[in-house]
C-alpha cells in the first residue's frame, strides 16, 4: 500500500498531465477537546493548484473557535495553509513510515486508522448533485481526481456519528467560512482528501443547435500542447443505451461525436491516450427538448375578505393561461413510453411503500392490511431503529407495529400524547372513564373553588393514572417475552402535536421518514395516504427535540 500511495500521488501530480501543480491549498477542520492537548482531524482537504493566492488569509479562517451547544467540551477551527508539492509529498512519505498524517513534522493530530482509498474521479455537478463535490473545492469544470486517506475506525469522532445533529450543526458553522458540507458525507469524517482538479483542458459536451448532434468542445490550456484524446458519449433512455459514440480527437476545437440521439440522458468522457488517464467526465446530463411558457394576466381588482377580524386582500390572477412557446413536438412513441414509465413508477412506489393510498371501499381486513405495510417497512428499514410518533398512540398500536420488528436491540421509540384511552383490560378502561367523567355539581362559589383546587390536583393524578394504565396495558397485552427488545415509550412533554410519523434512523445516511397520514389506530379505516417524506432529516430533528424534552421520569410510560 505504501508504495502505491506515493505512486498514485506522483501520477496525479505529474507535470502537464492534469495541470501544472506546484502548490497545495491545505484546509483542515480541526476539533479541540478539553481532555486532550492534541487536536482531532475532523476533515482535511488538500487542493492541488498552480501558483497560490496572496490575498487568501492563512492561519485560522475563523477568528473565534466554533462551539456547538450539544458538545460543550469541543471547539473547532478551520485552518488554511499553502504547501508546496514537495512538502506534501514529504508528508506522504512520512505517513508511509509512521502511518500518521502530519502536515508539519512533529505536529500530529488525533486520527483513526488511516488507509488508502481507491482513487476516484468526481465530475462537475450537472442535473444532479454528486455527493463528493460537497467536500471538494470549486469542482465546476472538467472534474477532479481524488486521492483519499480513509479513517477506517473514526475512533475520535464518535460524538458526531452517534448524533448526526451535532455533525449537521458543525457543518453549518463551517459553511459560514468555507463551503464544505461535511454533514452530507459523514462517512468521510476523519479523512484526508487530495483533490487534483483537471486544469490541463476545458471541455463542454453539448447538443448542436444546427443538427441536434451531440458534440464536444475541447480547449487545451494555453501553455500545453494538444494531445490525443478519446471522446466517448452514451445516451441512456428508459434504462437502455439508446446511442453510443466514440471519436479520437487530436486538437482543440468542436468535434461531433454522434448524430441526433433523440431522447434520454447522456454522459461523456475524455480519455488521455498518452497518459492513460481520464481528463474529463460529465455527470448524467439531460437536455431540454421542449419548453412551454405560459402567460397569466393579473386582474387589478383584488378579492377582499375578513378573516379573524383582519381584512385580507388577495391579488387575483386570471386562470386562463396562454401557452406561447413550444419548441419541439414530442414523438407519439415517446409519449407512450412516458405513460408506461409513469405506471411503472407508481407501482414501484407502492411496492416500496413510498406512496400508498388507502381508499374506499374498506374491507374488514383493511386496518390489518395497513398495519402489514408498517411491518413491511419495519422489516425493510428498521435495523438501526424505528421511532413511532403519534398523539393517539395506544398500547395496542405499539404492539401491533413496533413489536413486529425482527431486529434485536434496534433503537425503538414511541412518543404518544395519551390522547386515547389505552386498550388495556376492561377494568382499567372503566377506571379511566370514571376519573374523566367526574364533573362538578356544586353551585356554592366557595365549594366550587374548593372543587377546582381538587380538580387541578386530580388532573395530575389522572395523568399519572393514565401513564400507569398505559404501561399496564402494554404489559398485559404483550404478555410473553420481550426478547432483545429495546423499546421506550414516552408521553410527549408537549400536548400540542398532531403529527404522525414513522422514522428510521440510519447510521451513516439521512434518516428515512414516512408520514402515516392518520393515527395508527385508524390506518386503513378511512381515506389517507402513507408516503415517504422528502428531507426526512427535518422531521427526525423535530422528533429528537421533542423526545429529549420528554426525558423526565414523569414522561416515561414504559421501557423494555
Amino acid at each position: 500500500m505504501n508504495t502505491i500511495l506515493v505512486q498514485e500521488f506522483d501520477n496525479l501530480s505529474k507535470n502537464e498531465v492534469l495541470g501544472n501543480y506546484d502548490q497545495f491549498e491545505v484546509v483542515e477542520v480541526i476539533g479541540f477537546q478539553n481532555k486532550s492537548s492534541t487536536p482531532t482531524n475532523i476533515f482535511t482537504l488538500l487542493v492541488a493548484t498552480e501558483g497560490k493566492s496572496v490575498d487568501l488569509p492563512v492561519g485560522f479562517v475563523n477568528e473565534k473557535r466554533i462551539k456547538l451547544v450539544n458538545l460543550p467540551t469541543w471547539t473547532f477551527g478551520i485552518h488554511r495553509r499553502w504547501l508546496t508539492l514537495k512538502q506534501v509529498r514529504g508528508c506522504l512519505e512520512r505517513f508511509n513510515k509512521t502511518l500518521k498524517w502530519e502536515v508539519e513534522s512533529g505536529k500530529s493530530v488525533l486520527q483513526g486508522q488511516l488507509s488508502l482509498g481507491a482513487v476516484q474521479f468526481s465530475p462537475a455537478n450537472s442535473t444532479g448533485n454528486i455527493p463528493l463535490n460537497r467536500v471538494l473545492k470549486n469542482n465546476f469544470w472538467s472534474g477532479s481526481h481524488v486521492l483519499e486517506l480513509v479513517d477506517t475506525t473514526k475512533s475520535e469522532l464518535g460524538d458526531f456519528l452517534r448524533s448526526p445533529k451535532n455533525l449537521l450543526q458543525l457543518s453549518e458553522e463551517i459553511q459560514k467560512f468555507i463551503p464544505l458540507e461535511i454533514a452530507a458525507l459523514s462517512d468521510r469524517l476523519g479523512n484526508v482528501v487530495f483533490q487534483f482538479p483537471v486544469e490541463s483542458l476545458r471541455c463542454k459536451f453539448f447538443k448542436s443547435r444546427e443538427n441536434n448532434s451531440l458534440s464536444v468542445e475541447v480547449a487545451w490550456h494555453p501553455h500545453l500542447t494538444d494531445r490525443r484524446l478519446i471522446a466517448q458519449m452514451e445516451v441512456v433512455d428508459d434504462q437502455a443505451i439508446a446511442s453510443f459514440g466514440t471519436i479520437e480527437i487530436s486538437q482543440s476545437g468542436i468535434h461531433q461525436i454522434m448524430p441526433d440521439p433523440g431522447y434520454g440522458s447522456f454522459r461523456g468522457t475524455l480519455w488521455d491516450v498518452e497518459n492513460n488517464i481520464l481528463l474529463a467526465a460529465t455527470d448524467h446530463m439531460s437536455l431540454i427538448r421542449e419548453t412551454h411558457l405560459s402567460l397569466g394576466i393579473t386582474s387589478p381588482e383584488p378579492r377582499i375578505f375578513k378573516y379573524k377580524g383582519d381584512e385580507h386582500r388577495i391579488k387575483i390572477q386570471a386562470n386562463d393561461h396562454l401557452s406561447v412557446l413550444e419548441c419541439e413536438d414530442q414523438p407519439k412513441s415517446h409519449k407512450q413510453t412516458w405513460a408506461r414509465l409513469y405506471s411503472e413508477e407508481k407501482k414501484a412506489l407502492e411496492d416500496r411503500r413510498e406512496l400508498i393510498q388507502y381508499k374506499a371501499p374498506f374491507s374488514t381486513t383493511a386496518h390489518d392490511d395497513a398495519l402489514q405495510d408498517i411491518r413491511w417497512l419495519l422489516q425493510k428499514h428498521g435495523q438501526y431503529g424505528a421511532w413511532l410518533w403519534d398523539p393517539y398512540l395506544s398500547a395496542d398500536d405499539i404492539i401491533g407495529t413496533l413489536f413486529f420488528s425482527p431486529y434485536g436491540h434496534s433503537d425503538m421509540r414511541a412518543l404518544t400524547g395519551l390522547n386515547k384511552v389505552p386498550q388495556g383490560s376492561k377494568k382499567s378502561r372503566n377506571a379511566i372513564r370514571r376519573i374523566r367523567s367526574q364533573k362538578p355539581n356544586y353551585k356554592n362559589p366557595v365549594r366550587r373553588k374548593k372543587l377546582n383546587l381538587m380538580r387541578s390536583r386530580r388532573t395530575t393524578a389522572t395523568e399519572t393514572n393514565l401513564i400507569t394504565l398505559f404501561a399496564q396495558a402494554l404489559e398485559t397485552s404483550a404478555g410473553g417475552s420481550c426478547t432483545a427488545m429495546k423499546l421506550q415509550v414516552r408521553k410527549s412533554a408537549s400536548k400540542n402535536f398532531h403529527d404522525r410519523f414513522l422514522i428510521f434512523p440510519q447510521p451513516t445516511e439521512e434518516p428515512l421518514v414516512w408520514s402515516l397520514g392518520t393515527s395508527v389506530n385508524s390506518m386503513g379505516k378511512s381515506h389517507h395516504i402513507l408516503q415517504m417524506v422528502q428531507n426526512g432529516r427535518l422531521v427526525f430533528d423535530a422528533f429528537e427535540t421533542l423526545w429529549d424534552a420528554s426525558s423526565a421520569p414523569k414522561h416515561l410510560i414504559w421501557s423494555s
Partner: protein, 478 residues
C-alpha cells in the same frame, strides 16, 4: 395654415354678407342650457347635431382640402368667409346681459371648435373686434370650472386609485401622481367650452389665462382648462405660472403626450428650461419633480437635454436629488441612454467644478448601489451596467488623478487572478463573482478608449480574447 386664415379673414372682412348658422341657433334655443349640449349628448338632441353638420360642415371639408393640399373650391371659400364674418360680428357685438347670449355663445363655440381643428384660429382675430363682455365671459368660464368625481359603483381598485391620486394632488406629491398618470389622465375629457376658452385666452389675453389657472386648486380643474392647448402653449404657460401644481401638470401633460420620436423645438425647450430653473429654486418641489420625471427617464426623452443644461447651474442638493431619483438596474436599457443624453448636455454646459461635484455624487451612489447585489439576492449572469455609467466615467476621467486611474486599471488583473483561488459553493456563485468583478472594472477599462468621446460602453473587455482563448471562455462561460 397661416396663409389660409389670413386669406379667410381678408375675405370675411370683405364679405358682403355673413352667413349665420340659423338652424343651429334655432335647435339650441329648444334646449334648457344650450352650452351643455355642445359636442356632448347629441343622442338626446340629434337636431343640434344635424343643424351643426349642415351649416358648419363646410369648415371640416376645408380642413380636409388643406390636409390634402388641394385647392379650395371658390364656393367653399365664400361659405367659410361668410361664417367667419358672422362669427366676428357676434364676438364684436357680444353682450352678456342679452337674453339670447348663452345661445349665441354656444353657437360661437361650435364654430370655433371646428375652426380650431384647422389651426390656432383665435390668434387671427383682431383684438379690437372683441367686445369687453366676451373677454369677461371667457375668463369667467375658466374660473368657474369645478370638477367632481363620483366613484359610486366603481371597482375597488379604481376607487383606491382615485383616492390615492386625489391625496397626492392635495399634498403636492407629484412623484405619486406621475406613477398613476397613465391610469387616470384619460378620465379628463375637457368640454369644448373649456378648450376654446383657454385657446382664446392664450391667444388674446395670456395674463387672464395665467390668473385663472394659477387660481385653480385641484389638478382636475387645471387639466380641464389646459389639456387641449398645444405643447408650446402648455410649456409657455408653465414657465409663466406661479402655481406649483399648474407648473407640474402642464409639463407632465405635455411630455406624456409628446411623440416619443420627436424632439422639442428651440422655443419649447426654452420654456421648459425656464420652468425647470424656477422649480430648482425650491428643493422640495425639485425633489418631487425628479421623483416624478426622472425615476425612469425613458418616459420623458424630451426632458433630458434641457434638464442637463439646467443642472449645470444646480446646487449640491439638486444634483443629489437628480442622481438619487434615477432608478438603477444592472442592465443596459433606454433609461441608460436617456440619462446619458442628459449628462452629456450637463457636461457641455457645466464648469469643471460643477461636473466634478456631480460625478462624485454619482460615483458615491454607484458604490453604495453596487449593482443591487448587497440589498437583494441578485445573481449576476452577465456584465452589469448602470443608468448613471456616464457620470461614473466622468468620475474616473475628471475626478481621479491619472495615476489613481492607472492604479485601478492595474488592479484588474490581480483581482482576476486571485478570483480563482476563492471558494465558491456553486458554479453560479463563481460566475456571479466573475461578472461582478468585470462589471466593476468595465467602465475603468473603457474610459481609456473613450477619453475624448466619452462614448457610453455597451460592451466590455475581458482579460482574454473569447474567440482565440477558448480555454478561458469555457472557464468563465463567456
Amino acid at each position: 395654415m397661416t396663409a389660409f386664415f389670413k386669406s379667410a379673414f381678408k375675405k370675411a372682412f370683405q364679405s358682403p354678407r355673413s352667413i349665420a348658422p340659423d338652424e343651429l341657433i334655432n335647435a339650441l334655443s329648444k334646449t334648457e342650457d344650450p352650452i351643455t349640449y355642445l359636442q356632448g349628448d347629441w343622442a338626446n338632441f340629434p337636431e343640434i347635431r344635424d343643424a351643426s353638420q349642415k351649416e358648419l360642415g363646410h369648415i371640416d371639408i376645408c380642413r380636409v382640402h388643406l390636409l390634402q393640399g388641394s385647392d379650395l373650391p371658390p364656393e367653399l371659400g365664400t361659405q367659410l368667409a361668410g361664417t367667419i364674418s358672422w362669427l366676428l360680428k357676434q364676438i364684436e357685438a357680444f353682450e352678456s346681459h342679452q337674453d339670447n347670449s348663452r345661445m349665441i355663445l354656444a353657437a360661437i363655440f361650435e364654430v370655433c371648435a371646428r375652426l380650431s381643428q384647422i389651426s390656432a384660429f383665435w390668434t387671427y382675430v383682431p383684438r379690437d373686434k372683441i367686445s369687453p363682455d366676451f373677454y369677461q365671459v371667457m375668463h369667467d368660464v375658466l374660473v368657474r370650472i369645478a370638477h367632481s368625481n363620483s366613484d359610486a359603483g366603481a371597482p375597488v381598485w379604481e376607487r383606491e386609485l382615485m383616492r390615492s391620486v386625489n391625496e397626492a394632488d392635495s399634498n403636492e406629491r407629484w412623484s405619486v401622481l406621475s406613477k398613476h398618470w397613465h391610469a387616470f389622465e384619460h378620465v379628463v375629457r375637457p368640454h369644448c367650452l373649456f378648450s376654446e376658452t383657454s385657446r382664446f385666452l392664450y391667444a388674446q389675453d395670456l395674463n387672464r389665462l395665467i390668473q385663472a389657472v394659477d387660481g385653480m386648486t385641484t389638478m382636475w380643474d387645471i387639466l380641464h382648462a389646459v389639456q387641449h392647448l398645444t405643447a408650446k402653449e402648455k410649456l409657455h404657460l408653465a414657465s409663466l405660472s406661479k402655481n406649483a401644481r399648474a407648473r407640474f401638470l402642464l409639463v407632465q401633460d405635455t411630455l406624456f403626450h409628446f411623440p416619443k420620436s420627436e424632439e422639442l423645438n428651440d422655443q419649447q425647450s426654452e420654456y421648459l428650461g425656464k420652468t425647470l430653473t424656477k422649480v430648482m429654486a425650491c428643493n422640495q418641489e425639485w425633489d418631487e419633480w425628479m421623483g416624478a420625471l426622472n425615476e425612469y427617464p425613458v418616459r420623458v426623452p424630451q426632458l433630458q437635454e434641457t434638464l442637463g443644461r439646467v443642472l449645470a447651474n444646480g446646487e449640491y442638493a439638486q444634483l443629489c436629488s437628480y442622481i438619487n431619483a434615477i432608478s438603477l438596474y444592472p442592465h443596459h436599457n433606454d433609461c441608460r441612454l436617456q440619462v446619458t443624453e442628459c449628462l452629456r448636455a450637463f457636461r457641455n454646459n457645466a464648469s469643471l467644478e460643477k461636473r466634478q461635484e456631480l460625478w462624485r455624487i454619482a460615483h458615491d451612489r454607484w458604490e453604495r448601489w453596487d449593482f443591487g447585489i448587497s440589498t437583494g439576492s441578485l445573481i449576476l449572469t452577465q456584465v452589469a451596467w448602470s443608468q448613471i455609467d456616464f457620470a461614473v466615467m466622468g468620475y474616473f476621467l475628471e475626478v481621479l488623478e491619472q495615476s489613481e486611474l492607472e492604479k485601478l486599471r492595474s488592479e484588474f488583473h490581480k483581482v482576476f487572478y486571485n478570483m480563482q483561488f476563492e471558494w465558491y459553493a456553486k458554479e453560479v456563485d463563481f460566475l456571479h463573482t466573475y461578472y461582478y468583478k468585470i462589471s466593476r472594472f468595465a467602465l475603468i477599462s473603457e474610459t481609456s478608449a473613450s477619453v475624448h468621446e466619452w462614448s457610453l460602453p455597451t460592451s466590455y473587455r475581458v482579460p482574454f480574447n473569447p474567440k482565440l482563448d477558448r480555454y478561458s471562455s469555457l472557464t468563465f462561460s463567456a
